[in-house]
């Protein structure tokens, strides 16, 4: 959109082919991330949020068929060679995954793992890399970084491991950090600590943050803009305040309603929608949420609504958005 956009994804499609089956994991999503911005991508399992992130990272396997455009600081990423993508990762974008246990090598000291990441991308010798690694550990507020440098992942708690993973991700000062369910495996108190750390670092370093989560509440408390994904498409996109102030897409409303909230009285039944997300191997006509939607009408089943900007900054893909006639 604007020339200042750090990341510009437009009409991104990702298809997987396996044993004659085609899975349309991502079906034409577009969004932009400005420098220093926090964007949350929300959706259920299988909605395509992680596949989109992998596409931005250039981490998709060769079986994936990617079309559309992903431009990072004006450089096109779709169709680039593995060598170019390798250079792009780490320097430009870095990712923090859900399970810190599986992102770290259990047989390597954490210091060595951080130094490795640094020396992959920056021309530093061993000593300088060591110094930088300790500095990073201090940055992510790991207690006693000089000592921890020589420890193995199993000697750390889940929260500390995730701090180490964040340190590795920040090793080359990426412009964009993708946190894929980075706090889902952690306890509430640790989750709050890690999210606060991520936001602090973002403010300090000016990194943009894309957080991927199934947790709307988490996104609401930390992100500036929220994208809601369903069945490979973005169905609603808005600034956090606008979105939660006036939800338009019935799917977003269903997600919000299904979260147990601390303000609710005990034993209240939650509003639920039945059914399951659609099979992504066939592209069906009509809105993908139509079979489950409580407000479905005849035209929803035949015509696919496009994601359009209806209010300033508030996009939705729905023929009959909620809140047209009544309040939320």
């Amino acid at each position: 959109m604007t020339a200042a956009a750090l990341l510009e994804v437009s009409d991104l499609c990702v298809r997987f082919r396996s044993r004659g089956n085609v899975v349309n994991a991502v079906q034409g999503i577009s969004f932009t991330v400005e420098p220093g911005q926090t964007v949350a991508i929300i959706g259920e399992s299988g909605s395509g949020k992680t596949v989109s992130a992998y596409a931005i990272m250039g981490l998709l396997p060769r079986t994936a068929h990617v079309s559309g455009s992903i431009s990072f600081k004006g450089v096109q990423l779709v169709g680039r060679s593995e060598k170019d993508l390798r250079d792009h990762r780490g320097r430009n974008v870095a990712m923090v995954f859900q399970d810190p246990e599986r992102s770290l090598n259990p047989t390597m000291r954490i210091g060595a793992q951080i130094s490795e990441a640094i020396r992959c991308h920056l021309p530093l010798d061993r000593n300088d890399a060591h110094e930088r690694a300790v500095e990073l550990l201090r940055l992510v507020r790991l207690p006693a970084p000089e000592r921890r440098f020589y420890e193995y992942p199993h000697q750390l708690s889940g929260g500390m491991r995730q701090r180490v993973v964040i340190a590795i991700a920040l090793a080359c000062e990426p412009r964009l950090l993708i946190a894929d369910e980075a706090t889902t495996a952690l306890d509430v108190t640790t989750q709050a600590q890690i999210m606060d750390l991520l936001l602090d670092l973002q403010r300090q370093l000016g990194t943009a943050l894309v957080m991927i989560s199934h947790d709307l509440a988490l996104a609401a408390s930390y992100a500036e803009e929220v994208l809601v994904m369903y069945a490979g498409r973005v169905v609603e996109r808005a600034r956090t305040r606008d979105l939660f102030g006036s939800v338009r897409m019935p799917y977003t409303r269903a997600l919000l309603g299904a979260i147990p909230r601390i303000e609710l009285e005990p034993h209240v039944l939650l509003p639920v929608v039945g059914g399951r997300p659609p099979d992504l191997s066939a592209i069906m006509p009509g809105c993908s949420f139509a079979p489950r939607c409580p407000d479905v009408q005849q035209d929803c089943r035949h015509h696919t609504p496009a994601l359009e900007e209806h209010d300033s900054g508030h996009w939705w893909a729905c023929w009959h958005p909620c809140g047209e006639e009544t309040g939320p």
Binding site: T190, A220, F244, E265
Partner: protein
């Protein structure tokens, strides 16, 4: 919907005491290489509570707080090291293994990961029928009918799902099968250990509603373990907060969430992300720092004192006993938080 045979009328939460746990202690001996005793891990230390018929007690705490161990000790798998677990007047800890079996009929468990708690080679109908066979209930045709009626009850069509295998089910459906298996013996107590944490938000809401409806239909009591405080609030009558193997606080759900007495409860409540923030960003000052200390070497005195903003010398010297404050609330803290009467402060806190 078919009615199950013998389901009693729903009991009010003020029913008689169903389960009483007194001074329960569960320890695990850690072994180093060669079986050398490496240390004793006190997973649950001196926990007491009671559960009335028809009541749901939520148990919250972080990883390693001992909430799952507590649940397993209640069901005697394995039996606790010390203490009493009195279920309908019988102390289960003293029972012999053979005498335990008829009691298990009345207490069943639902686990976090349905796929790991269901045998992948069995059919859904076989899985749900197994407890009936194990306890010798009914004839073959009676069992089939009962299995069908319970599958129906958890929202699965017996004709369509009875012959399926767990791999042919979604997470939510598999958890429904696990619930049907737990219910088929018509137990009085269901112990749920993080029963919805592996499910997607929309499915989670469906399963939570199922728990609620079953509770009122069958007069069940739940011990509901979860790390998510909002979720626990949704289902519970009373809530117990655990930290490092000890109870911090226990009381009626509304009171605990409106005015927590233990600083740890307050810290937990403050860590919950809020879906409708006033300004998009939250203030970071209220989040507690640090991580739980090692349960192999818990701090002296109050176990929370190393992270507690209110900690004083007394907290290190003296273990706070669980004491009763007000009518129904108990707290284990030397310096509990003051009750809040100011309406404005209250709202500020809750949100």
């Amino acid at each position: 919907m078919r009615q199950a045979t013998g389901a009693g009328p729903a009991a009010a939460p003020s029913g008689g005491i169903l389960l009483e746990v007194r001074h329960l202690v569960q320890e695990f001996v850690l072994r180093d290489h060669g079986g050398v005793r490496g240390g004793v891990l006190q997973a649950v230390f001196d926990v007491s509570f009671e559960l009335r018929a028809g009541e749901t007690l939520g148990i919250v705490g972080e990883t390693g707080s001992g909430k799952s161990t507590l649940a397993r000790s209640v069901i005697q798998a394995p039996p606790p090291k010390h203490g009493e677990v009195i279920f309908e007047g019988t102390d289960l800890v003293r029972l012999r293994r053979r005498a335990m079996k008829p009691v298990r009929r009345h207490m069943q468990m639902v686990f976090q990961d349905p796929f790991r708690s269901l045998d992948p080679r069995w059919t859904v109908a076989g899985i749900v029928a197994e407890p009936l066979i194990a306890h010798g209930v009914g004839s073959r045709s009676e069992r089939r009918e009962r299995v069908n009626s319970f599958l129906d009850r958890v929202g699965l069509d017996p004709a369509g799902y009875g012959k399926r295998h767990p791999r042919e089910l979604s997470g939510g459906q598999a958890q429904r099968v696990a619930i049907a298996r737990a219910l088929v013996l018509e137990p009085k107590l269901i112990i749920c250990d993080e029963p919805v944490s592996s499910l997607d938000v929309l499915v989670q809401a469906q399963v939570l509603n199922l728990f609620e409806t079953l509770r009122s239909e069958m007069g069940l009591s739940y011990l509901f373990i979860a790390h998510d405080l909002a979720l626990v609030k949704q289902v519970s009558d009373r809530v117990a907060v655990m930290y490092l193997g000890k109870l911090c606080e226990i009381g009626p759900v509304r009171d605990i969430y409106r005015e927590p007495l233990h600083p740890y409860t307050l810290a937990l409540l403050n860590s919950i992300p809020d879906p409708s923030p006033p300004e998009g960003k939250r203030d970071t000052a209220r989040v507690i720092s640090g991580e739980p200390p090692s349960p192999l070497d818990p701090p002296s005195g109050c176990r929370f004192r190393t992270r507690c903003p209110r900690a004083a010398d007394r907290c290190a010297a003296e273990v706070p006993e669980l004491r009763t404050l007000g009518d129904l609330r108990q707290v284990a803290c030397h310096f509990p938080l003051p009750a809040r009467n100011d309406k404005r402060a209250e709202r500020e806190f809750v949100l």
